[in-house]
C-alpha cells in the first residue's frame, strides 16, 4: 500500500511539472488556430481558422528573420562541425599544450554570454577602426560569431568518441600510403560520423537559440533572427502569426526528435541482433 502510494505521488509530481512545462506551448498551439490578436482577451477563442498561418507567410520581415536564422544556424553549425572535428583529432594527438587549448576553448562555454557578446562587438570595432578592414556587420559576422560560440561543443561531442577508437587507425592510413588529409577524411572521419552529427545538432540548436550575442552584433543593417525580431517587435505590435511560427517550430522539433529516437532504437536493436 505504502509502495503504491509512493508511486502515485511520484507520478503526480512528474505530471504537475510536465503540465507546467507544456501548458504555455499548448496554449500557443491552440491559439495558432484562432485569429484573435491577444490571447485571453474578452473575445475568447473566436472561430477556428488557419488565417495566422497564411498571415505568417505574408509577413516578409518575419520570413526574412526565419531565413536568416536558418542560414546562420546551418552555415555556422557546418563550419563548427568541421573545425571542431579537425581540432578534436589534433588535440587527441597533442601532448604539450593540449590543456591550454582546452582551457581557452572552454572560456566561451563558461563565460557570461553578454561578455562574449561585448568581446565580439569590440573586435568588430577593432577590425574596422584599428585594422581599417571594411567590415559589414550582418549575416557574415554573425556566422563567424556563432561558429566560434558553438565549436567547443562540437569538440566536446567528438573528443570522447575519438578516445574509444583504435589509436592506430590514423597511422594505419598513413602506413598504407594515404597522406594526413586523406587519412583523416577516409579513415578517421567515417568513424566519427555519429558524434559529428550530434555535434552539428547541438551547434545548430545553440545558434538558433542565441539572442545575446546576436542582438549586440547584428549591426544596424536590419539583419534579424527570429529571436531578435520577436524581441524588437515586442514593445510595438507583435504579429499574432508568431503563434503559427512557434507551432511549426515545435512540431518540427518534435518530429526530428521522434525520428532520431526511432533510428537510434533501430540501430541499437540491429547491433544487439548482429
Amino acid at each position: 500500500m505504502n509502495k503504491k502510494l509512493s508511486l502515485i505521488l511520484r507520478w503526480a509530481f512528474l505530471i504537475i511539472v510536465l503540465v507546467a512545462i507544456y501548458l504555455p506551448i499548448a496554449l500557443i498551439v491552440v491559439y495558432s488556430f484562432s485569429a484573435e490578436k491577444n490571447i485571453g482577451s474578452e473575445n475568447g477563442f473566436g472561430e477556428f481558422t488557419f488565417s495566422l498561418y497564411s498571415q505568417l507567410f505574408q509577413n516578409s520581415q518575419l520570413m526574412e528573420a526565419t531565413l536568416n536564422t536558418l542560414i546562420i544556424g546551418v552555415v555556422s553549425a557546418l563550419l563548427a562541425t568541421f573545425i571542431g572535428t579537425f581540432t578534436a583529432v589534433g588535440l587527441y594527438y597533442m601532448r604539450k599544450g593540449k590543456k591550454t587549448v582546452n582551457f581557452i576553448s572552454q572560456i566561451t562555454v563558461v563565460n557570461a554570454e553578454i561578455v562574449t557578446a561585448v568581446g565580439f562587438f569590440l573586435l568588430s570595432i577593432f577590425i574596422r577602426d584599428v585594422l581599417s578592414i571594411p567590415l559589414n556587420k550582418g549575416i557574415g559576422w554573425l556566422i563567424v560569431a556563432h561558429t566560434v560560440l558553438t565549436t567547443p561543443y562540437v569538440i566536446l561531442s567528438v573528443g570522447p568518441r575519438l578516445n574509444q577508437l583504435n589509436p592506430n587507425l590514423y597511422e594505419a592510413g598513413l602506413d598504407l600510403g594515404a597522406g594526413p588529409m586523406r587519412s583523416l577524411f577516409t579513415v578517421v572521419m567515417p568513424q566519427l560520423i555519429s558524434s559529428m552529427i550530434s555535434g552539428f545538432a547541438l551547434a545548430f540548436t545553440l545558434s538558433l537559440d542565441d539572442f545575446v550575442v546576436t542582438n549586440l552584433n547584428k549591426g544596424t543593417g536590419g539583419v534579424n533572427t527570429i529571436s531578435t525580431f520577436v524581441y524588437a517587435n515586442l514593445k510595438r505590435n507583435l504579429d499574432p502569426s508568431i503563434r503559427a511560427l512557434s507551432t511549426i517550430i515545435f512540431v518540427i522539433v518534435l518530429a526530428v526528435l521522434i525520428v532520431f529516437n526511432i533510428v537510434k532504437n533501430k540501430k541499437q536493436k540491429a547491433a544487439q541482433v548482429g
Partner: protein, 489 residues
C-alpha cells in the same frame, strides 16, 4: 658473424636516440638488417622495441641519429612515403570498410611507373599510373588467398574472429608489396592455439614472399621459433644480436640469460683462463680472456646439469632435492647445493629430500661479463658531511668543501631496501628482479630517474615502492675535475 655486404643491408639504424619527455627510450642504437631476414626485436615491455619499430615505420622521429632504408636516409620521410608496411598490435582494421576494401585501401593509393615520356623541355620524365580495377581485384584476391581468407572479401571486418582479423591485417600490409614488413606484437591478442598456428603460417609466408620481416615481441619462445636473427633489447640498449641458438646458448649477459629460457644465474670469479670459481667450488669452463679474479656472472641451463646418486663418483656438487615434478620426458627439480637453488631438468628421477650429486660439464657453463659492478652517481657536497645525490641528502664523512661536484660509488651490497618509503632516505620503484642463487639482484628506479642495483637476500616484486637506505661506510666519493663534468650522460 660474417660482415654483410653493403647491398645486403636493407635497413640501417645509425646512432639513433629517442627521448620522450626526458626519458631516454632508445639510447645511441645501431642496427643493420639484412635483406630477406626474419628479425625479431625481443625484450620486456618498455624496453624500446616498439618505439624502434615505429621509428622505422615513420610514426616516431628519432631525437638524434638516422635511419636508412636501402641506403636512402628516410629519417625525415613521412610514413606514407616509406616502402614499409605495418601489421598493428590490435590490427587497426578500418571498421567502416569490408574485408576486400580494407585490403584494397593501400593499392588504390599506390602509383606504379608506366614508362617514360618526354616533357615540354625534352627531358625524360617517368610516368605513373594507378592500378586498374582488375589489377586491384587480382592482387587483393591473391593476398586473401595467401592468408586463407579467399571467400571473405565481402564480409564486415567486425564480424570476424580475432585470428581472421589478424589475417586481414597481414593481407592488407603485404598486398602493397612492401620491402619490409613490420609486425608489432601481432599475435599478442590471440589465444595460445591460434598463436601457435599463426607462428607457423607467418614463417611460411616469410619464405614465400621473400621480403624482410621485422617482428616485435616480448615472447621469447615466439622469437626463438620464428626468426633468423634475434635482437634482445633492454632499457633502450641492444643487449645481444644473434641467431636464436646463439642468444640461447651463449647469452651475452645475465639479462639475456634470464630473459631467454630458464636459467641458473650465479655470481662467480674467473681464477684463470678456463677456470671459474663459484659456490666455493672450482669448475672447468670453456671461456678465457678475463682478468685474473674478475667477478663474472655465469649461466647454467637447467638441462645442462646432470644428476647422480649421492654415492656416485661423478659430480662436483652435493645437493638436496627440494621438489621434483615430472614433465613428460624429464623431471624438473629444485635442488639446493652450497646455498644455491638450482633449477634442473633431468631424465634421472630423484625424490624430494634425497641427496644427489650434480655434474656441470665445461660446455654447460657460460661466462658473462658483469653488466655493472658498482652504482655510480653524480652528486654534490651540500654541507658539512652531507652529500646530495639521487634526490636525497646522505650523511657521509667528508672533508670536501660545500658545492664540490663528486662521483658517488655505491656497492651493490651497501644498499638496504625498506618496505616503508618513509624509512629510507629516498623512494624508488623496483623495476627488475634477478635471482642469483643465494641472493637477488634488484634493480630500482628512483624518482630522479636513476637506476640502482642492489644485492639483497630479501625478495621484492616488480613495481614495489621501496625506501632506500645506504650503508654510509661503504660509499666512496671521488671529486669530479671540472673538464670531466660533461662526461656523464
Amino acid at each position: 658473424m660474417r660482415e654483410p655486404r653493403v647491398l645486403d643491408k636493407i635497413i640501417e639504424v645509425k646512432n639513433v636516440t629517442k627521448v620522450f619527455d626526458d626519458t631516454t627510450v632508445i639510447d645511441e642504437l645501431n642496427l643493420s638488417i639484412r635483406r630477406g631476414q626474419f628479425i625479431t626485436l625481443l625484450g620486456p615491455s618498455g624496453c624500446g622495441k616498439t618505439t624502434l619499430l615505429r621509428m622505422i615505420a615513420g610514426f616516431v622521429a628519432p631525437t638524434s641519429g638516422n635511419i636508412y632504408i636501402e641506403g636512402q636516409d628516410v629519417t625525415t620521410i613521412p610514413p606514407y612515403k616509406r616502402p614499409v608496411n605495418t601489421v598493428f598490435q590490435k590490427y587497426a582494421l578500418f571498421p567502416h570498410l569490408n574485408v576486400f576494401k580494407n585490403v584494397a585501401f593501400g593499392l588504390k593509393l599506390k602509383k606504379v611507373p608506366c614508362g617514360e615520356k618526354l616533357n615540354s623541355k625534352g627531358e625524360k620524365v617517368e610516368q605513373f599510373r594507378k592500378f586498374t580495377k582488375e589489377e586491384i581485384e587480382q592482387k587483393v584476391n591473391r593476398a586473401l588467398r595467401l592468408v586463407g581468407l579467399e571467400d571473405y572479401g565481402h564480409r564486415d571486418v567486425n564480424s570476424l574472429s580475432g585470428g581472421q582479423q589478424q589475417r586481414v591485417a597481414i593481407a592488407r600490409a603485404i598486398v602493397c608489396e612492401p620491402k619490409v614488413l613490420l609486425l608489432d606484437e601481432p599475435l599478442g591478442a590471440l589465444d595460445l592455439k591460434m598463436r601457435k598456428e599463426m607462428q607457423i603460417e607467418l614463417t611460411k609466408m616469410h619464405r614465400e614472399l621473400g621480403i624482410t620481416f621485422i617482428y616485435v615481441t616480448h615472447d621469447q619462445e615466439e622469437a626463438l621459433t620464428m626468426s633468423n636473427v634475434v635482437v634482445v633489447l633492454n632499457d633502450g640498449l641492444i643487449q645481444q644480436i644473434g641467431t636464436p641458438k646463439q642468444v640461447y646458448d651463449e647469452p651475452a649477459n645475465a639479462f639475456v640469460a634470464d630473459f631467454i629460457g630458464e636459467s641458473n644465474i650465479i655470481s662467480g670469479t674467473m681464477i684463470k683462463d678456463f677456470s671459474v670459481k663459484f659456490l666455493d667450488t672450482v669448475f672447468v669452463c670453456e671461456d678465457k680472456g678475463f682478468a685474473k679474479n674478475e667477478r663474472v656472472d655465469l649461466v647454467i641451463r637447467p638441462e645442462d646439469i646432470d644428476v647422480f646418486p649421492e654415492n656416485s663418483e661423478q659430480g662436483q656438487l652435493t645437493g638436496t632435492v627440494l621438489s621434483a615434478v615430472f614433465k613428460g620426458t624429464y623431471y624438473e627439480m629444485e635442488i639446493e647445493a652450497n646455498g644455491y637453488e638450482f633449477t634442473v631438468q633431468s631424465t634421472t628421477e630423484a625424490r624430494p629430500g634425497q641427496k644427489v650429486k650434480l655434474l656441470i660439464k665445461p660446455n654447460g657453463i657460460h661466462i658473462m661479463k658483469k653488466l655493472r659492478t658498482v652504482n655510480e652517481f653524480v652528486g654534490e657536497v651540500s654541507g658539512e658531511n652531507t652529500v646530495d645525490f639521487c634526490g636525497g641528502s646522505f650523511e657521509i664523512p667528508t672533508t670536501l668543501e660545500k658545492g664540490t661536484p663528486v662521483k658517488v660509488y655505491v656497492p651493490f651490497d651497501a644498499v638496504e631496501l625498506t618496505d616503508d618509503e618513509e624509512d629510507g632516505e629516498i623512494g624508488a620503484n623496483v623495476t627488475h628482479v634477478l635471482y642469483k642463487g643465494s641472493y637477488y639482484q634488484v634493480q630500482i628506479y628512483t624518482d630522479t630517474d636513476e637506476d640502482f642495483y642492489i644485492d639483497t637476500t630479501d625478495e621484492w616484486d616488480i613495481d614495489d615502492r621501496v625506501g632506500v637506505k645506504i650503508n654510509k661506510s661503504k660509499i666512496r666519493l671521488e671529486v669530479i675535475a671540472h673538464e670531466e663534468e660533461s662526461d656523464e650522460n
